[in-house]
Each structure stands twice: as structure tokens, then as C-alpha cells.
Symmetry: C5
């Protein structure tokens, strides 16, 4: 039932074959994506990795790789430098190289958000070809509404084109943000961001789940974004921490009410101990990729705990 639409900027021949292989691998032949986000050591500095509610395992970045290796994630997103340090011991992970990242120190009241490409494209290509790990995708964060939007739109366009030239899938994080942006979680605004991702030609667009005016999440609110994204597929970020059943229910609704194609989760996974994280990932995988019910997923989470 997987719907594979290979965009026209993927050249015929080897690149097309690689693109299809990568897409099939990261969606486990289902067209659905469970992306494990591991770029927060820059985006949030060390805030997500220590604290009362955080498992001690999470203090070292190796925790991320251990989970990604053992859990049924479609791909693990991290910066190239970190992958270069751990990849030799975690060769089975399908990697997404996150190409831009910024810290959260400068707030938008001080300066609009701007996050720029780290490595040069030719360096990324060299790494993909020669590092000996399986890179299936590239990723980039875009902040529509920032005063620095034009620079990020150009970088995103160029990187998506190059990713496709190399036969890699592209995931675009799209977060409307900046002094010009009122409610970042507004469904109509988020749908607008998804449409931008479609015009850029992203394969997957990662958005924050919209909320209604009273602040409640509702899977139905995603429909506008999913429609606006057209043939680009939408995945939702995990949202704020909550109980496991609530998390799984929300994910189920995003997919079945909202029409999203999976999920992208970071903190919710890696802040748990290795053992619990694996169980939690299995539950997410059940809903996001295997199209199972919340109950089936919860059973997987509870099994062996």
C-alpha cells in the first residue's frame, strides 16, 4: 500500500535506485516514517539531557545511538560530527544528517531565529560516500516568518536539490517563528508552513502539532496542513511530555484523524532509560508504521517492563 512518488529532481539511474532504497528503508516499506530526533544537544544545549525527570543514561550522547540501534526507528537524525564519532560502532542505524542547528540562547525578542548550513554540500557528499555508515536522508530546519527567512529558503532549496541528486530523502523541519509570528501553534499558520515545504520539494515535512484557540491539540486540526503539503508527507513532532497512553493516543489521532505519515520524536524517547526507551519506541512504531491500535501499542510498551 506504500505510495512512492519519486520527485523529478532525482536523476534517473543509480540515484533513483538509491532514493527508492532509502525511502523504503526508512519507511520500512510502508511509506510511514518514525524519525528519532537526536539534534537537541545543539538546539537545546544540555537541557534535555539532565534533570530529575531524565534517565541518567541520557547524560552521554551514546545513549542516543544505543536506542537508535536497538529500537525500530526509521532513521536517526543527528549532526554529522556526532555521527562521525559513534557511527563505527552503530553501523546498522539508518542516519539522517541534520545540516543546520542553532542553540536556543538567543531568543526571538533579541534577534529573529536563523540557523544556517554547517558543512559544505561537497563535504556532506564525501561523508555520505566514504564514511561507511548508511546515510538515508538529509534534514534542515526552516523558520518561516524570521527576518532571515530568505537565506534559509535558499539553503533549503539547494540542499533538497542536492540530496535528491545523491538519491537521499529530505526531511524539512518547518517552524514559523520570529517577531512577525503571533501564535506559532495556529493550525492555519502551520498549514502555511507545510505548503512552503511542499514548494521547496521536501519529501517529509516535520511540523509542530497545531492547537485550537483554547490550547487543545486535536488531530483534525492537522488536516489543513496535510492537504497543503500535497505529495510531501507530514510528520508531527512529539509535543510536550505527557503520559505514555496520552502520547500514543495523540499519535494515533494525528495519523488517523489528521492524515500524517508517521512521527518524529526526540526527548520523549531518549529521556527514558535504555530499556524503557526501546519499549516505548516499539509502541510508537506499532502505531506510526505498522498501523496498529493504541491498545496493541500499549501492550508492547508494557511487555517486559
Amino acid at each position: 500500500m506504500m505510495k512512492l512518488s519519486i520527485p523529478l529532481d532525482v536523476p534517473r539511474g543509480a540515484a533513483r535506485r538509491r532514493y527508492e532504497e532509502n525511502y523504503r528503508l526508512m519507511t520500512k516499506e510502508t511509506g510511514r516514517l518514525f524519525l528519532m530526533a537526536g539534534d537537541q544537544k545543539v538546539e537545546h544545549l544540555n537541557d534535555d539531557f539532565v534533570g530529575a525527570a531524565v534517565a541518567a543514561d541520557d547524560s552521554s550522547p551514546e545513549h542516543l545511538f544505543k536506542i537508535a540501534q536497538s529500537a525500530p526507528v526509521g532513521c536517526f537524525a543527528g549532526q554529522m560530527g556526532l555521527i562521525a564519532r559513534y557511527g563505527m560502532d552503530y553501523r546498522d542505524i539508518p542516519y539522517l544528517i541534520k545540516l543546520n542547528s542553532k542553540t536556543h540562547l538567543v531568543k526571538k525578542d533579541q534577534k529573529d531565529p536563523v540557523s544556517l548550513q554547517w558543512q559544505e554540500t561537497s563535504q556532506v557528499e564525501q561523508f555520505v560516500r566514504h564514511a561507511g555508515v548508511r546515510v538515508v536522508a538529509l534534514g534542515y530546519t526552516l523558520y518561516p516568518g524570521s527576518e532571515y527567512e530568505p537565506a534559509m529558503l535558499s539553503e533549503a532549496s539547494r540542499l533538497i536539490f542536492e540530496a535528491h541528486q545523491m538519491g537521499l530523502v529530505f526531511v524539512l523541519w518547518v517552524y514559523p517563528r520570529g517577531r512577525s509570528v503571533g501564535n506559532e501553534n495556529d493550525a492555519h499558520l502551520i498549514a502555511g508552513g507545510a505548503g512552503v515545504g511542499a514548494c521547496l520539494g521536501a519529501d517529509f515535512i516535520k511540523i509542530n502539532p497545531p492547537v485550537d484557540p483554547s490550547g487543545q491539540m486535536d488531530g483534525m486540526l492537522l488536516r489543513e496542513a496535510v492537504a497543503a503539503a500535497g505529495r510531501s508527507q507530514v510528520v508531527c513532532a512529539g509535543g510536550a511530555e505527557t503520559t505514555v497512553p496520552s502520547f500514543l493516543k495523540r499519535l494515533y489521532d494525528q495519523i488517523h484523524l489528521g492524515g500524517t505519515s508517521g512521527c518524529a520524536t526526540g526527548r520523549n524517547v531518549h529521556q527514558r532509560s535504555f530499556e524503557e526507551a526501546i519499549r516505548f519506541c516499539r509502541a510508537i512504531h506499532a502505531i506510526a508504521v505498522l498501523d496498529q491500535s493504541v491498545e496493541e501499542a500499549l501492550a508492547l510498551y508494557n511487555k517486559g517492563s
Copy 2:
């Protein structure tokens, strides 16, 4: 009766032949252009695509391609990423790749408008050559009067030159805008913008229709711009939503009083259902390209409704 003036920066030989073919195709051998604008998913986010007055079809970007495929449009303007996603199923459309786009989130009170080139020129060239769709033209939006005017003037100049090297026609959107600009719809100012387009060497210049001091549109007001544009041809944007007869009358006047060479329409077309959009496009085509009367056009619009 078509007047074809091939600019000197189109190299003799294959590029010249391609340029002439492209020009003939997009003007249907008449020298008149009906451009269907489909770049609003970035320019206006999702605002144009949902709402009480908008047909439900318009929520998905595929609606744009369906119309462009079936209606007699000279070319369909969209971002390369979107064309890469749908073009394989809509190969008959003559495409214009819109090379820059920005969202409308940052208002000019916050920062002057700036919209920069997305893909690199070599990437565009590769897409034009190898993607397997018929690209006939490139497009770019210029904001004279913005503090960022110099960067956009340079990008536009370079892209026009490269388009001509490839045998592609170039359409320049020219909208005076920024803190330095008083009345954006002033006929003299708009004529100034058209003259800038002429100096840049654009083939077609898309301008907003000027209004008189009382706010009324009048085809005669376009004459100054059409004269200032010299051998570059002027097409008008659709203007605000109105009734079909008013729209067609205004278009007729733009061409017959103002001397423009066609029209460029987006929202007015795609916010209608597929079926109505096709009828509306036929009516526009009748006036803009076939030089028919308003009555003939209205008859086409009403036929089969």
C-alpha cells in the same frame, strides 16, 4: 501578427531556436501571454487556498496542476520543488519556474521586502535539461524601493542573462514596495518599475494594475508603463476579486486601452472549482490571447455551467 524580438543575449543557434519555440508556445503563436500564477503557497502561505469563498478543491496543490493541464494557459508559474513533485503526471503543461519567493509574514513596517533566488543557477539548468518536463520560462520578483533592491537587481540581471543563454523566456514580477514607497498603485511609479524591467532585459513584465487618485482602475493608466517598458511586454496581475464580467471587462480594457500583452492570474482562477476554473480560463484566454470580445468570453464562461 506576432512580433518576436529575440534579445541579443540569446546566443545564436540552438538557444535561439529554443527561445523562439518557447516564446511561441507560451504565447500560442500570438505574442500574447496568459500566465497562470501558482506561487502563492509561499507568497501568501495558505491564505489563498482555504476559506468560505474558496473551493474545497483548492486545499491541495494538485488542484493547480489539474487546471493548468486542462485550461488554455500559456504557462503555469510555480516553484521548482512543487513542479518536481507533480510534473511527472502533468507533462503537457508549459512550466515557468519561479526562482524566488518569500512569505508575507514579515511586513514592511518591520523590514523592507527581500526575496532571494532559491536554487543555484546550475541547479535550475540541470532541472530544465533533465527533469523531463517542458520548462519554457523562468521568473523572479523584484521590489524596487526596498532597501534590499541592490541584491535583487543583481540576481534578476544574472538570471535573465542565464535564462536567455538557455533559450528560456523570462518573466519579471515588478512591485515597488518598501518604506520608501508611498502609493504602490500609482501609475507613474508603476511605469517606473516597468522601465526598470526593460533595463534588466525581461521579456515580460508583470505589474499590478495602477489606480487613479480616487482608487479607480482605468486601462488608460497603463499606457505610461507599456511605453516605458519598450520592447519588454507588459502583463497585468489580476487585481482584487470581483465578478466575472467585471474581471473580463477590466482585462479587455488593460489590453485594448492600456496596450498590455496578456494577463497573469492566480487566485481568481484556482479559488474556483476545477470545472468553473476551466471555464473561466477559457474566457480569459479568449480576451487575452485570441483577442475576442468580452461578450464572446462571457459566453465561453457560461457554456456548460
Copy 3:
């Protein structure tokens, strides 16, 4: 009597021969230059081309080419895009490609003036070699005193070097302007600007005619600038509109009292009807290039009117 000093950055061989031919052609073997400026459609938008005092002919850019083709001008300065549109029908004109231009919308109270290179140097070279028109010179406007002076100094330096590599003559427009500049028409300041042009290695430096503290023009005031320019030759812009005899007298004084090497005129020429513009150009040519008297020049202007 022509003094031809070929700068050392013109390579020996073909480039040197071309430089000498171009210099001789544009100065009609006299070392004196009558430059017809036709870049105002960007610099002043449409302000110079319509109005009660402006001939109706001037509403279309073709008027510029008609004059330049028939009048004894040394070269016609315009943007490359415009030349690409009309050059095929006006092949006898010696062209100067004006490489930067900006509109006058952003005033210096809002932001210091900045005007940047339009086409890439390699594009200019390709046009010069292959377009089939006679390009004899390149031109660039510099605003000393602007906060953006460093970018313009770099662009001007690089372009002058490249022009000389191609055997082209270079004309530098030098207008001190910006928040740091008090009286733009001060003779000492203008001389400073001319000295900057000399250090950049321009062949001709176009300056505004200085005025004395009471606001009066006086040819003697130019002497400081002409001395400061050294072996770079100075030509004056036309100055404000006035009567024909006054204009010619002023030009005579600029050359004979001030020591300038010709003139650069735009509006004063093209705002007249074709027929009058030709007569006026003959009069200017008589003084600026043929070294005739004001009376002789006036006779040419009046002949056939």
C-alpha cells in the same frame, strides 16, 4: 593632438589594440568624449521621460537609441538588458554598458546610497564578445562617503581591471553622497572624488559640476578636480536644465576654463524631440569634441530648426 595613455593593466597584444581602437572611436580621434547617458530609466525611474517639458518621443526607450544612432555621440551608456533589446536595430552605436544602477526611491535619510554590479563579469564578457554590437566601454557609479563605499570601491576596482583586460575603456561616475557628506557640489569634495577615480584607474571620470558657495557654477572651479584626476580624464554631467545658449556656454567654460575632456549628457538631450535632440547633440559635439566656439555650436543647433 590626442593624448593616448594606455594603462598598464591593459595586456599587450590584442587587448591593447582593442583598447586603442575603442578609445579612438569613442573620442573620435580627439581624446575628447561626448557621452550620451541613457541609464536614467533606473536611476530616476520614469521621472525624466514624461512631463509637460518632455517631448512625447521620450516615453519609449527606443527614443534613446534613435538619437544615439543619428547624433554624433562618442558613446551611448545604457544597461545591458536594454541594449540587448534594441541593439540589433542600432548596430552603429558605440555602446557603454552601465554595470550598476539603482532607483532613487530610497533616500539618503533612510539609508546611504548603494548601487551594486548587475551582471557577473563573465556574463559581461560573453555579451561583449558575442552579442554582435560594438561595446567600447564599461561604466560604474561610485558614491564616496556612503556607508557602503567599501563594497563599491571593490567592485569598481575589479571591473576596471577586467574592462582593461578586455580592451574596453572605463568611465566612472563619481558622486560623493551619503549622511556623511555635507555639500555634494563643493569643488574641493568633488576634486577628492576625482582623485579616488584616478586611484581606481578609471579612464574617464564623470563628475557633477561644482558650484561656489553662492551656488554659482564656474568653469574655474573644475581645475582642482581635473588636476587631482591626473591622467584620468574628467567629463562633466550636464547639470540642471537651462537654455541652449547657457548650456553651451557652460560646457565651453568647463572645457576651456576647467580643463575637462568633454561632457556626459542625458536628460538635456533625450527630453527633446528627435529632430531637436539631433541638432542639440551636433552643437554639443562641436564644442566638446571639435573644439569649436559657442557661436559655431549655436549655429549648428539653429540650422534647420
Copy 4:
């Protein structure tokens, strides 16, 4: 007992062998680094090199080279221009080329800190290959929290990749700084910076030693940063001037309580006379590299004084 983890962006073959040799040389086969920092002539202008408490020897930059040649330092960090002047007489020193530096004149109240790459990467490569000195590492300073963070993140990423391509080790100075940063010495913030260094793929991360809320240093406070850095190794800057026993005790604690992999010291070394500096370096080396006790180190310092 040395743990050598060669990152995946070091190409197999010659580069890998060079990387391993360089790493072994600069850590003296222990995996521990004693870096002598000699980049302060730019960073602090002449403030560190003259004064009542500074040995007269330190007024000339040659003092730095004399110490680095005779003392057991793992590498000496300096700017390429300075190394080019003295390296021919000090060929035994393992050099680290510090690729960016800025003066301390512009304070963060005026403008956020920004320090950019000096030489082009190809120039660095040429120097490394042909200058005839032993370059083992490259270095760069990053200021997370600065408004200019994106430019520095990109430069650091690209340089680390290129260093590894050449088989060089990379040391990243990471100092959170800027208007967005409250307490620069906060342990959690510093750990965040170390995590950024890990994501960039640095081999060694040089941080300032954190202090507790009362302003006291404590080796235990480093643990969070050492964990966050993962397989990138952490070394501490020397901290404020103090007595020799205190300095050595602090260093011992940093390593044994905090888990750091050595130290990076500048002023504390070169502000002493040549003879004392050598004795002090031996003491540092004893603790930082040879894993000896504070008492053993002090004995080395006192020996021969």
C-alpha cells in the same frame, strides 16, 4: 591505556595514519593533552605580556617558542603568521594552528562576539604540507549564544571536516558568550557548550572551568560537561592566576574528579621567566599527562629553582 577513536570523516589510508600519529604525538601516547595556548597576542593584545607580575622575557613573542620547544607540552597553539616567523628555529614543536582570533576591544555590550577564520582552508593545507614544521592540529574558537553563532558554527563544521581530511586533530575552544548569556561560568551552560562541540565532531573541546553559585571552582562540576562531550575529550583552560600549588591541585581535581583529559594553559605558563616556565610545565605535564600526584608535580616544579 590510551583510547583512540578515529572519527569517520578521517579518510582511510594516509590521512588515518597521519591522524593517529598526530594524536599520539600530541598526547604523548597517553590520550591526555597538555596544550600550551599562545594566541593571546591577538585575543588580549599586549595585556598578558607586560606588567609588574609578568617576566620581562614575555615582552617578545619568541619567549613562547622557547618555552614550547623546551617544555613537555603536547602542542603549542598559535596563529599561522607567527608560526611562519619562528618555526624555522623551533622545528621540534608540535604546532596547532589557531584559525580564528579577535581582539578584546569590542565588548559584548557594544556588539556580540564574532571571530572568523583567518586563512582560507586551501592556504592552511598548503602551509601544513610545505612549511616544514610539524603541524599536528587545528583550532577554532566558538561563542555559542552570540548573535553571530551561525557563521561560527558553519566555519567550525567545515574546518573540522577539512582537518580530518588532512589527518589533523581538531581542538575547539567553546565559550558561551554574548548578550543572551547570563553566567558564562555556569556548569550546565558549559556542559551545553561541550555538547555542541561533540555535535561538531571536535577531538578536544577546551572549556572554561565552571564555578558553583558561590563562585567556587569544583572539579565535580565538570562531570556534566565531560559526559555531554561524549567521545570528544574535554580540557580545561587554566583559570585565573593563583599560586602554583593551588593551580596544580585544581588541575588534579579537574582530571580526577571531573574526568577531563588534560589542560590548556597560556598566561600561567608564559608570564613566568623561561626557567620557571619550564619547571612549571613539567609539573603540569606530570599531572595532566603522566597521571602523577600533586606532590610529585610540586617536586618537579621546585627542583632546581
Copy 5:
């Protein structure tokens, strides 16, 4: 007695021989430099070249070349464009191409000083190789303490490296300046700037002579800077206009008390008539290069007057 230290970024072979020849030529085999500065037509516009106290000869830039040709100067510093205009008639002058220059119109209260590279490095190389004049050195002005310091540090680093690749000597003008800088003439600050020049690898560093807190110059004040510059040699700018004996005495002290390696003089030389300028240059040469006494120098100045 000449101390020639060839930096390691000068490649062995032809470049090394050229570097040594150039160094020997510009220091007349003594290691001492008398640089005649001729870049003020940009730096000070026409202010230095006209006025009651300025010889009439100085109104034309040719005056500079006449002096440099006939006087015993080590090298003459000017912009490439000016050298390209006069060099064919003054082939005996050893030229230094000044690579950046800015006007003095924008004051530091409006914007911090920034002066950027004019010609591209490849253009400079082409000129050096093919123009047919003897270029011995390149030069660049750096403003430590400016907000634009990072851009200038990068340009200076890259240019010094390239100069050395070509076998050219490099002179760095170092003037701490900007809103962050208090007393530009402070000895400690100037020494800091000299240290920056050393880290950049300049061969000669041109600084302004420091003054003591009461505003008096004192050769001893230079010692800190000369020490900080290490193997880079320091030369002093001329300072404010004064009597000839005072000037020569000050120069003598700079060298014999301060330890500088010559001098760099502009206005003090070219504002005199040709005949007097030559006599004055001979006097400067006597002290700065030939190591003669003030009395011997004065005798040369007075001889033939």
C-alpha cells in the same frame, strides 16, 4: 648587518629568491625601510594636496611619482589603478600596491572604520607578473577595535599568505580605531596592534608613533611595540607636520631609542616642491636607512637649497 628572516609561508625556490631580492631592494641591503606613502588621495581625498602650506606641484598625482623616481625611497605605496596610469614613465620605482583604501568621509561616530580589499588576489598577481613595473610589496590597512575587525583580519591573513607565495614583502598599516577604542595613540594599545601584525605574519608593521599621557612623543614609548612585533619589523608614520629638524630628530629617536626599522612618510614629503622633497627624502634616508646622525641628515637637506 642586515637580518633577513624569510617566513615559512614563502615557498622554497623562485618565490624565496624573489622575496629576498625584493626585501634587499626595498631596504637597500640594510634591513631598514623608507616607505613613501602615496595612498592619501583616497584616504584623505584632496585635503593633503592643496592648501596654503602645500606646494602647487602636489595638485597632480604625477608629483608623487616624480619624487619617488628621483628620491632614495625604499618603495612607493600607491593604489594599483594609479600605478597603472603612471608606471610606464616611472619604471625605476620599487612599488608597493596598497590593496585597501577608504575615504575619511564616514567618521567613527557614524560607523566604525572598515576598509576592504580592492582588486581580487588573482588580479593583483596578474598585474605583478605582466604590468612591466617592479612591484616589491603589497600593503593593507587594519583597524583593530573596529566592529568590522573580523573581515579585515581575514583579508589581511589571506593577502599576506598570497604575497609571500608570490615572493612579495608585506607591509601592514595597523591603526586601532573605532567606538571601542579610547586613546588611539596610547603606547600599550599600539603595542597590542603591533602584536596582532606579528600574529598575522606581516614583514613590516606601520604604526602611529605613541604619545605619553601628556601628549608628548617619546622614542622610548615605541619599545613595547617593537618587542611585541617580534620578528616583524616596525616603522613609524610621520606624525603631525613640524619643522624639518624636529622631524629628523624624532625619526632618529624612533630608530635609536624605540628600535624601529625605518619610517613611512607621505604628506611630509609630497607637500613640498619637487626640489625640496628630494632634499628632504635624502635627509630621511640618511637617518632611516644609512644610520647617519641628525646633523648629517640636516646637511643633506640644506645642501643646494
